[in-house]
């Protein structure tokens, strides 16, 4: 169980012949992910060093019949990533994970419009990916930090997510599925959509949201909670209380513009919607334990 990907997921890797693509394909295979094929324009018929059994095609279409992929992970450089995502959507791949960093906003907007129309899920860009511990990993996260469990984790960050997942483990908790939604201003799957999926997942007993400065996703998620009476406990952490206005803090999307997008605004919105907010990353696990105990 978990959401979006599981032991049955059949994935392809777009950009498999690149350094990142081939390196992480090996790690994902080691984890047990069913990678069925790779795609690299002009590389059809070749093999990736160390992965001689894995077929490589020029286009996704060629892999469709025999290998019937339902997910894709994309390592294609930013200048070509738009077409790679569109190709995945056009081939009706249901879950598309875009690891690529520095995708122009215009390209992201084009891609997301087509994805919405085609009813597929895009995760990212600029994401560490998604993992359903013990079943399937489509991402670049260090697998050993994640443990099978019943906490749904959704984050705008990478390493901070690992930090918090490591904290959960020391408290005997694990994840049903962990999703990095990406650090860009325009990303596919958002907090609210992830929450909807976790709501209907029997394995997920609680959800952790890791937000940061910039944009208004946290505020809108708080509005969703207020309206929805979300049935599972939620703990949030928001990074960037100390961030100055007008500066991009590493992620393209992490920027306070004027009075918009501050950590304070997001924290207040969560608190007023009844979401517990952790002061420090390590407080996420302790708050969760408390919330889960009060549920039983």
């Amino acid at each position: 169980m978990g959401i979006l990907i599981d032991a049955g997921t059949r994935a392809i890797v777009q950009g498999i012949t690149g350094k990142q693509g081939s390196y992480h394909t090996k790690l994902m295979l080691d984890y047990g992910t069913k990678i069925v094929a790779g795609v690299g324009p002009g590389k059809g018929g070749t093999t990736v060093n160390g992965l001689s059994e894995l077929p490589v095609f020029d286009t996704i279409r060629e892999s469709a019949g025999a290998y019937s992929p339902d997910a894709s992970i994309i390592f294609v450089p930013a200048a070509f990533a738009q077409d790679a995502v569109l190709e995945a959507i056009a081939n009706k791949i249901k879950t598309i994970v875009v690891i690529t960093e520095h995708l122009p906003i215009k390209d992201a907007i084009n891609v997301m419009a087509y994805a919405a129309q085609s009813q597929v899920v895009v995760i990212g860009p600029n994401t560490p990916g998604i993992i359903t511990p013990g079943e399937c990993k489509l991402g670049i996260m260090p697998a050993n930090i994640f443990t099978p469990g019943n906490v749904g984790l959704v984050s705008r960050s990478g390493t901070l997510t690992y930090e918090i997942a490591a904290g959960l483990r020391t408290h005997g908790l694990g994840e049903s599925t962990c999703i990095g939604i990406g650090g860009d201003p325009v990303v596919g799957l958002n907090f609210i959509e992830a929450l909807e999926l976790f709501k209907n997942d029997a394995k997920t007993k609680a959800v952790v949201l890791i937000g940061e400065i910039g944009g208004d996703m946290e505020e809108l998620t708080a509005q969703y909670f207020a309206k929805e009476r979300y049935p599972k406990p939620v703990v949030a952490y928001v990074a960037g209380r100390f961030a100055p206005s007008g500066k991009r803090m590493g992620h393209a999307g992490a920027i306070i513009t004027g009075k918009q997008g501050t950590a304070q605004s997001k924290i207040e919105a969560f608190l007023s919607a009844g979401v517990k907010v952790a002061e420090k990353p390590s407080d996420v696990a302790t708050l969760l334990v408390k919330e889960l105990l009060s549920q039983t």
Binding site: A78, H102, L103, P104, I105, K106, A108, I109, N110, M112, A113, A116, P128, I140, M141, P142, I145, S155, R156, S157, G158, T159, L160, T161, Y162, E163, A166, G183, P185, V186, V187, G188, N190, E212, I213, G215, D216, M217, L220, Y237, A239, G240, R241, F242, A243, P244, G246, K247, R248, M249, G250, H251, G253, A254, G258, K259, A263, K280, P281, S282
Partner: protein, 385 residues
């Protein structure tokens, strides 16, 4: 990770190319050029400092001039001066418009809806944020379907809501469409005409203009690349060269970490324990020895830092590589007689090797980011050495 803000004149030239009316004007880089430069312009003039920042008027960056002589005086005053901490290298001298009404037009990214959004208001001339706060209902928001763009019927509807009819309605709607084309073709994140002047003769002219370019799209816009390099400090240049995200802050604890979220959380934690970070420096994923070394060089050389905190949780970043970079930078700092206490938290991929490398070099490693942050705060306060 800089914000690529174009200066007014560059934006206006883009507007001109796209057929958006702009005031008649000229650029002056030396006040002595003024007399010759304005020979084709009719007084009175507006003399405007070309710095890429909002609120120039209030900061004294825009000076009205009644005559050529006054324009020259204003140019002398502005060129070489600082407006909002930015040096003025050129001024734009324009014919002053006779304005009947000031409007606002802008296009930006609606992050949550994953699309562009056009904003218009009949209350131009003030910052749109201010209008949004005080009279949000006066802002006309139009979500843009990226597959359609802004079509004539969208633009007409916006112009109508701004209160125009007849030939003015058509003229204004054309400007809105052209603004969208300029925005998309330049891969902008934000464009603004504020104010868009309705002149006493009833035509529309872009009196002021701002545009922010998406720096991830620079590979499609080599014309803006030089501009990016120009606006960087030497630390920022070193950071950019090594793919580091660097933001200078006000405090005294130099911070280096991997991952934007983790570094932001580290700053927050320092603050929580009563410390003040001197910077935000993100190594990104998979940092090399050289990148780690460059990062430490930046924070060690910063005269405001009293202690350095390194917080790395290795995923695709390998702790042994990070440790080697730290050791090399520490050695060089020692040779240069820079004595600043160094606190390191290093965990994740290859942590045993990394910790051993640091231990061999006599650098202590802490296991948790909280313990490390606390210790860095104590060191910066001079409580322990």
């Amino acid at each position: 990770m800089i914000i690529l803000n174009l200066i007014e004149n560059e934006v206006k030239q883009e507007f001109f190319k796209h057929g958006i009316p702009i005031p008649k004007g000229t650029i002056v880089t030396d006040s002595k050029q003024t007399v010759h430069a304005v020979s084709n312009l009719k007084p009175p003039y507006m003399v405007k400092a070309q710095v890429p920042v909002g609120g120039r008027g209030k900061a004294g960056g825009i000076i009205p001039a009644m005559s050529v002589h006054e324009a020259e005086e204003a140019a002398t005053k502005l060129i070489g001066a600082q407006i909002k901490n930015l040096p003025v290298k050129q001024v734009l001298i324009e014919e002053k418009l006779s304005i009947k009404k000031e409007l606002y037009l802008g296009i930006t990214v609606d992050r949550f809806n994953r699309c562009y959004v056009a904003l218009a208001s009949a209350m131009g001339g003030v910052e749109i944020e201010e209008v949004a706060e005080k009279t949000p209902k006066t802002i006309i928001r139009t979500i843009v379907d990226s597959q359609l763009g802004i079509r004539s019927f969208h633009a007409l509807s916006i112009a109508k809501q701004l209160g125009y009819s007849g030939s003015q309605l058509v003229e204004l709607s054309t400007i809105i469409q052209k603004l969208y084309q300029a925005f998309v073709e330049n891969d902008a994140e934000m464009v603004e005409i504020n104010p868009l002047a309705e002149t006493k003769t009833g035509s529309f002219v872009a009196a002021d203009a701002r545009m922010v370019i998406d720096d991830n799209a620079l590979f499609r816009h080599p014309e803006y690349e030089a501009e990016e390099a120009q606006t960087l400090s030497s630390e920022e240049t070193l950071a950019l060269k090594n793919n580091l995200a660097y933001v200078k802050l006000e405090g005294d604890i130099g911070v280096v970490g991997n991952g934007a979220g983790l570094v932001m959380a580290t700053l927050d934690l320092l603050n929580f324990f009563g410390g003040k970070p001197a910077d935000f420096l993100d190594l990104g994923g998979g940092a090399t020895i050289e990148a780690v070394k460059a990062a430490l060089e930046i924070v060690l050389a910063d005269s405001s830092t009293k202690a350095i905190l390194v917080n790395v949780l290795g995923g695709i970043t390998h702790c042994d590589e990070v440790a080697r970079g730290i050791v090399e930078a520490a050695k060089e700092a020692k040779d240069a007689k820079v004595k600043k206490p160094l606190v390191v938290r290093l965990a994740g991929t290859n942590q045993e090797q990394g910790q051993r490398i640091l231990a061999d070099a006599g650098i202590r490693v802490l296991g948790s980011m909280e313990a490390a942050a606390k210790q860095a705060v104590e060191f910066a306060a001079g409580e322990k050495q």
